[in-house]
């Protein structure tokens, strides 16, 4: 882009993106909250220091107090520590599943957009995946493959791998479609023609010329992917087909809390709030990113 104001130092385009992002109040708040949640979940345990699995029968089913800010559960385990431990798994599942679905979606989208011969086949494949009933299938897969994976990798890692894998392979379709559309449009541009005319091989064409240009839609679908993965994982745990109670996630804590609704309703409210606010903040980040990465909006 040719700058008319020559006295300005050349700026990285990411600074422009950041400037636009900052004007979106919701996105900024969302980003702040998400960072806060990450700190709470990953650094919190070092500060708080109570073991989430520590059973103390003397303080069962307590309400909020200074010793236990979010109360305790039916075994006297500290809910505050369990919320941190649960959040670690929930957010880790969200991030890894998002990465997996992003890699899959980008790979298939770029292949379909760039190589005309396999475009039809890959897109039909994507449409087929879009027609699958995802939640029932996820439930079935988790039910059937839970025990073998647990036996192979241990109770926590096994279920983590399974859940990340099933969420990843069932949520790549939107990314693939968006990336394919963008690659198709980019292929007609002059710089691609120029690159091709100097003999750039396909792999370098994709890595050097196409992928950097489809980064913005990929980043937006990344935020949606995190939100989707966190909600799906919580839904699975809520239906009793996710993580076991010993390795709680927010969804599992909510599920466990429903049995104690009358006595301590806050056991449901804290995990639910954590899920909802995290997803809300991620969605707002996505909204802000979409605006910030769109050069038509950014100029104004």
């Amino acid at each position: 882009m040719t700058d008319t104001t020559t006295n300005q130092a050349p700026r990285n385009q990411w600074w422009d993106v950041w400037d636009q992002f900052k004007t979106h109040k919701g996105a900024l708040l969302g980003a702040g909250f998400f960072v806060f949640m990450l700190l709470f979940v990953y650094l919190g345990p070092y500060v708080w220091g109570i073991d989430p699995g520590h059973i103390d029968p003397r303080v069962r089913n307590q309400g909020m107090s200074f010793a236990h800010p979010m109360g305790t559960d039916q075994l006297g385990r500290d809910m505050f520590a369990r919320m941190m431990a649960g959040g670690q798994i929930s957010i880790a599942v969200g991030l890894t599943a998002m990465l997996l679905s992003l890699v899959l979606g980008t790979f298939i989208g770029v292949l379909a957009g760039y190589f005309k011969r396999i475009d039809g086949l890959l897109m039909r494949f994507t449409d087929l995946f879009l027609a699958l009933p995802l939640l029932p299938l996820l439930l079935v897969i988790v039910m059937l493959y839970r025990d073998p994976l647990r036996a192979a990798f241990g109770p926590e890692t096994g279920i983590f791998i399974l859940i990340v894998f099933v969420i990843g392979i069932t949520s790549w379709m939107q990314t693939a479609r968006i990336v394919r559309g963008d690659v198709l449009a980019l292929k007609e541009r002059e710089f691609v023609l120029a690159a091709r005319s100097i003999g750039t091989p396909p792999h370098r064409m994709i890595l050097r010329h196409l992928l950097p240009n489809v980064m913005s839609p990929i980043m937006v679908s990344a935020t949606l992917g995190i939100a989707n993965a966190i909600i799906t994982e919580s839904a699975l745990s809520f239906l009793g087909l996710g993580f076991p109670s010993d390795f709680p996630t927010w969804g599992r804590l909510l599920f466990d809390g429903t049995d104690w609704l009358q006595r301590n309703p806050e056991r449901v409210i804290w995990p639910g709030l954590a899920i909802s606010l995290t997803v809300l903040s991620v969605n707002y980040i996505g909204d802000g990113l979409r605006d910030a990465l769109d050069p038509r909006i950014r100029g104004r």
């Binding site: 027609a131 699958l132 939640l135 919580s234 839904a235 909510l254 809390g257 449901v268 909802s276 997803v279």
Partner: protein, 336 residues
């Protein structure tokens, strides 16, 4: 249009076949053995015979073919026989039998279907009725406080999972205030006004939970579609002709903006069934979702396969309906 519909119907067949293959394979490749729970004292050769009698020693493609035949030929005929009372062929056809209840799966589904349709259907209608006015007003008064509030609430409804809103509603309205029952009683029969009131009270929470979730999605589309149309030339023309604002917005713009929204509504129906799995679990509505969860927890494979396939069928069907509707509603779209 007709050729397009026929072509889409033909494409739907391989799609459904592929989906049924995936459903079949996921369950078939699962590392579980139907004879595993039999006593260990059974000698291996007898065990092999039991497996043969269950048809498990056949190759995969033959089992898949038989499964398809059972699913697409036998069960529909059984269903038609039940409905009409007529009988086709003398010999009794095999039925897909639930491993949990030992009754045909189709009968189980027929028992559970009305509850799901009632709750899900009402909530979808409520969702649309909430979403359309909100979308229209938000777009007409863009950036007003109403728009800001509406967008925020729809973002909230979009982000807050139904299992949390459901439980939150139970905490507030059942536990704290005691207004509504937390469990949906499906045996309740409406006979007079008092029992009708009870029915309203028990259905209101599941319907509101699902309805708010649906409304938040639809109102986003409604608003975007209205905004697209409000800046078009024909709106200026209509105003220039001296039509009242009410006619311009509610007749000219609304009708045109409804085109994409109607297809979104059609596309959303199968997702609503999927979402209802969770809501039914929260409010203990014994509908299809409840049946599915029960079957999954009990390892009841025939029921799970049938239900999953029905959900897949709904998705394919409503995709088709949405595409055809779009062509019918918008004369500018020509598929041929």
């Amino acid at each position: 249009m007709l050729t397009y519909t026929i072509r889409r119907l033909l494409i739907a067949i391989p799609t459904l076949l592929f989906i049924s293959l995936i459903i079949f394979l996921i369950l078939d490749l699962a590392p579980s053995d139907p004879t595993a729970s039999l006593p260990l004292t059974i000698p291996p050769e007898v065990r092999a015979e039991i497996r043969a009698s269950l048809g498990l020693d056949e190759p995969v493609h033959i089992r898949f073919g038989l499964w398809l035949y059972q699913f697409f030929v036998n069960e529909p005929i059984n269903l038609i026989e039940q409905w009409t009372g007529a009988s086709f062929g003398e010999e009794s056809r095999p039925r897909v039998v639930s491993w949990q209840t030992r009754s045909p799966v189709v009968d189980l589904i027929a028992q559970r279907m009305p509850q799901t349709l009632w709750v899900v259907g009402t909530s979808y209608v409520v969702g649309i009725l909430i979403a359309v006015p909100i979308g229209v007003i938000s777009a007409y008064r863009q950036y007003s406080w109403f728009d800001q509030l509406g967008t925020f609430i729809s973002m909230l409804g979009f982000s807050v999972p139904t299992f949390f809103t459901g439980v939150l509603f139970i905490v507030i309205f059942s536990v704290q205030l005691g207004w509504f029952p937390s469990v949906y009683d499906t045996t309740h029969v409406v006979t007079d006004f008092a029992s009708f009131w009870v029915q309203i009270k028990q259905i209101i929470m599941p319907v509101m939970v699902l309805g708010l979730f649906n409304a938040s999605q639809i109102s986003r589309f409604m608003r975007a579609s209205m905004l697209d149309n409000l800046n078009q030339d024909y709106v200026r023309t209509a105003r220039a002709k001296g039509l009242s604002e009410q006619v311009v917005v509610l007749v000219h713009v609304l009708r045109n903006s409804m085109i994409p929204v109607v297809t979104v509504i059609a596309l959303g129906v199968p997702q609503v069934f999927g979402g209802a799995i969770i809501t039914e679990q929260v409010f203990k509505v014994n509908g299809l979702g409840h049946l599915l969860i029960g079957a999954i927890q009990g390892g009841d494979i025939p029921t799970v396969q049938t239900l999953t396939f029905i959900f897949a069928f709904l998705i394919v069907l409503f995709n088709l309906i949405a595409d055809v509707l779009y062509g019918i509603l918008d004369p500018r779209i020509r598929y041929d």
